[in-house]
Symmetry: D2
Subunit: 357 residues, 4 copies
């Protein structure tokens, strides 16, 4: 239940306010040299407290690798790693112990398990995405060797009312996205998104948004035709991110209003190679990559923790009013960008291995 993947499998563990969070990455190819700086950098991109648009919690997020490496090279044994939880203000959450925060997992978790870890969301905290970024960094390092031409780049394509133009998707670079605190590759739009988030912070409110991900350099023939379709694996993984509410690939929901004659991607020859005239399909046809850029988008709801007064009920069934203390993001989307990239790398490496490539 806490494991993703078939041949390459990531099992994560840990709660927001327990001793540590971490993961075990099993099935990772042997002989891959780990670039620790790269891993740290991937981690830091997800880290809160990076800028004024995200939460104030200062996570140091030092990764300690416990196994699977010899002199910094993967041996084929499972790679376990942990990140200690520090800078915890559990007392911030004391008053949440006996009530259910609206649109959090408090109530549903307690119905599932009969009790819950109320400290900072416990296992349902966004902090559980940190191990995903560590494992994603490892998967990216494996691809650097196995498939060096592949590139995964995600960026913020929407925050509240501000959206990028999908027509530009293929022109945005990682550098453009990383140049600002909201990770939007359009600088003008980024400025507006930042202002919007700052405004919401003052109003004690939060906003949703979208992340778009583009993967280039994936060869044709990766995936499976029925239940383990490449798009189904990506969708399943993305919907596993906290606050994710939707997934679409290629033209996605827009396809619903298209004609077949508009949507179909004609095959063409280009310099002796088979290619397509358009990419409405988003690089996947019938569950299997077709060699074109893979393109998908993930929607995120507004952070449920807001500083405003909200109505809710207590564990013993009394209606009450709460106001969240603690630290929280007005918008998780910029921090979701590296999580989306990491899960993409993990899904693709798993599908690559199971496709026998």
């Amino acid at each position: 239940m806490n494991t993703l993947g078939k041949l390459l499998s990531l099992t994560t563990f840990g709660e927001s306010h327990g001793p540590a969070i971490g993961g075990v990455l099993d099935g990772f190819p042997s002989g891959i040299a780990i670039d620790y700086d790269f891993v740290r950098q991937c981690m830091q991109r997800r880290r809160p407290g990076q800028s004024t648009v995200t939460t104030g919690r200062q996570e140091k997020d030092e990764v300690e690798f416990l196994s699977g490496l010899l002199d910094g090279v993967s041996t084929g044994a499972p790679i376990a790693f942990i990140i200690r939880n520090t800078d915890q203000h559990s007392s911030d959450y004391d008053e949440l112990k006996d009530l259910f925060r609206p649109s959090h997992a408090d109530y549903s978790w307690e119905q599932r398990y009969g009790l819950r870890d109320w400290r900072g969301g416990g296992r349902s905290s966004a902090r559980v995405t940190a191990p995903i970024c560590v494992a994603g960094a490892l998967a990216l390092l494996a691809f650097r060797k196995l498939l060096p031409e592949m590139e995964i780049r995600a960026f913020t394509s929407q925050i509240g009312p501000y959206s990028t133009d999908p027509a530009n998707d293929m022109y945005y670079t990682s550098a453009m996205a990383e140049s600002n605190s909201v990770r939007c590759p359009d600088p003008e739009l980024a400025a507006r998104m930042e202002d919007y988030i700052h405004g919401l912070r003052e109003e004690q409110d939060s906003t949703g948004g979208c992340v778009t991900c583009i993967v280039t350099g994936v060869p044709a023939g990766i995936g499976n035709p029925v239940f383990d379709k490449l798009e189904a694996s990506l969708a399943g993984a993305m919907l596993g991110i906290n606050a994710a509410k939707g997934f679409e690939y290629g033209d996605g929901f827009m396809s619903a209003s298209q004609l077949g004659s508009q949507h179909n991607d004609s095959f063409r020859m280009d310099d002796g190679r088979i290619t397509v005239a358009t990419n409405h399909s988003g690089g996947i046809q019938g569950g299997i990559s077709n060699g074109q850029p893979i393109r998908f988008r993930v929607a995120f709801k507004p952070t449920p923790t807001i500083g405003r007064q909200q109505f809710t009920v207590t564990r013993d069934g009394q209606e009450t009013v709460m106001t969240a203390k603690g630290r929280h993001d007005p918008c998780v989307v910029p921090r979701a960008v590296p999580v989306v990239e990491s899960l993409t790398a993990l899904v693709l490496l798993d599908q690559w291995l199971t496709s026998g490539k």
Copy 2:
């Protein structure tokens, strides 16, 4: 790769023009009486040739159960079933043998496996959803006994430019949806959709659309908090349907432009029970059901097979022009409705069992 689910697992098999398609449903509870008429009825809803808006292929789709039943009651052994392929016009596909149809799985499959079954799409044909409907019917029969108050109803919520109003989602009934050939519960809209499809048929074109699914009567506490989230399982299953391009639950992509203060669902007391004032979450919080109606939407692209001339390439790399013969739907959406319901039943029963209910 052709298996869905953990404790309740469905393995399907079969190609469009092979001897038979079918499935094996393992982990199904014992002691469930099979209502064969109900199964047949579920099958028939997916069947093409039901009306003038769908394909002309006449599939009889007689299900034969091979195992797992004694006097019509499930024994706990795997339930295997097959549906013979009849009314096959393989010769319709002869000329497709050596070219790749645009936006079909022909090219990607061949890159994956080195060869492909070119007869009617082979394993990538929409016909592979028939076994899903048989298994889904069985899951529904299990729920009739285990959780009689649960109801799953899906309907066509969009075809091309015509969409239902989400505000009415909870008021639509299955009977309304089943009263017309497009399975849209709004009769006026349904008429327009029918006209639209008829027009497209004449123009040799096709259209996409959306299916909305509502599940009521699911108790709180079904699901898992991280990688096997209820929404992730639903998303993975739905993206496994042919032509599916997107999945969203609750307010979905609309959440991206909402504020936290709008999106959050306040808890309330109602006659001594915990409930919510709104259901933007779509019945799932943190991967686990919260007792509210589960609500999600799936987007489908236009049928890729159209009667118009299209550009493509041959297997040996020659650009060419093709015009599809054979039988094909201008719109798969109405036939996807029972598939969405079936996969929902299968995912919910599996999550119900793994949640130890």
Copy 3:
């Protein structure tokens, strides 16, 4: 629960007296030509009624392939196949409906599922091994292409008091084993075993025995080091055969009384290649093949169905006396030989694929 394997997975279904038994083999490599005569031959070796030492039931066991093949070549899609149940004498079992046969699965199954298929053992019948032989034949055909030097040969190494000498294990050929009805490669011993079984048939009794399996030509490096060890996969598969009571590999239980200085296999050089002086390890070290012949043995209990009067109880808790009618083997061991070979082929092909070979 009815599935074996990870990348290559076999799901079987069917009961002794239902309409059909069969299986779905998923993850099978594409491009393998199916030699139907070979499959039929593998099936027939398992078939009862082959000689006077086995059961009188005449199973025709015609395999029908339903999917995954195009012009007799595997396409990468799941290969489903069925074998119709014919020559059923269900009425033979009528009186078993309400009592529990000693050392059968009747009682434990009913405790597990609340009801059971009492006709001929239902899902617990030895007949469920027939689909394993079909799938095993396919795996052998894949190896013919992928690893032509590999050879799997199993034979009867013990029946009742008669045992072959393990020192000869490497010298026995398949032809020797197949030359007599008990599948013992030592002709003199085979004759005694046959006499022994004929005597037991007259006495309405049965006997246990052992099957030894030798696999040559497996390259070093197949397997996994901890929970999916090659020997653990083999053990798990073999203990899944009806009536199996034990598994050992290499020197097995004899190792318990050996010294390290006796048991250890020294490495040597042989014509520039690394080899070993002895093979007490049985070709596997630390869960991974070492390039030496894999050698293991499986123990089977006597057939529980005997013609003698036995004490037992009825479903409603009355002590009673029963005498089995129906058809039954005095010794299942000769028929288990092809099942052991089939499971070995399936396990090795799965481990080969998951080891990325």
Copy 4:
């Protein structure tokens, strides 16, 4: 590949001389109070350096729990734990870096992964069984609550030429087994085994042995009828223990020379409950528990590391002679006893949960 179990899954990680070993136990029931002293005690039973018959390495083996617990009670989230590696003498292994130790996993691992962790056996060290004991202790604690009448007791039943009498299996208690350093419940035999091991230590040799395990209080109806048979799960788990060479349950290999009329267990009524007159089946029939004591035996080979000179080859293909330094047991069997118990608890709890109990 490093994961055991379906609904209750244990993923282990770590090498002998890396920073830490550990595990993640997922699917563990919520609401179980962890008795840390009990866990420590289970760990210590496996620990080397307990007496003069085992290795001199002093492992402190302090377990640190990282997740899944709140105030010492399980929450339903995955329980991760680590044990730091201390007292490592990696330099003891320097000279092993470039040669393959006989009957170790050195050669096969390197063929599998292209490189290996040569320090103390790396991932193939017996040290990897420590996390199994931690997880096993947790499973036992869950059973204390879920099934308090269940008892698992394993003991040393053979060391070299000394064997207990199976007729006494049911009379031996844990206390008898724990009263001496070899964990043999027969005190006289235990003394002889100790002498035997002391003698072998002086001769720089090692010995194999067997562990017998008895489980009482398991209700009928736990298990699965075909590939996930209870005995198959137990066999697969036991063969995953380092140095295990065989598994048998009930009368095991002895069944091969028995008659059906001897082996069959007649059902009887006892005080209104169904029971059996004998238990040759070992508590499992057709893959499912029948309510009788489960009884099985595991064979272990002699420790491959011996102080004597042995012939082997180097990585670059030179024949050479080696003499092991480092610390090593002349006999692993006494330390395997708690590992067998732990795996039994894990397998039973998983099967219990998947059987829907």
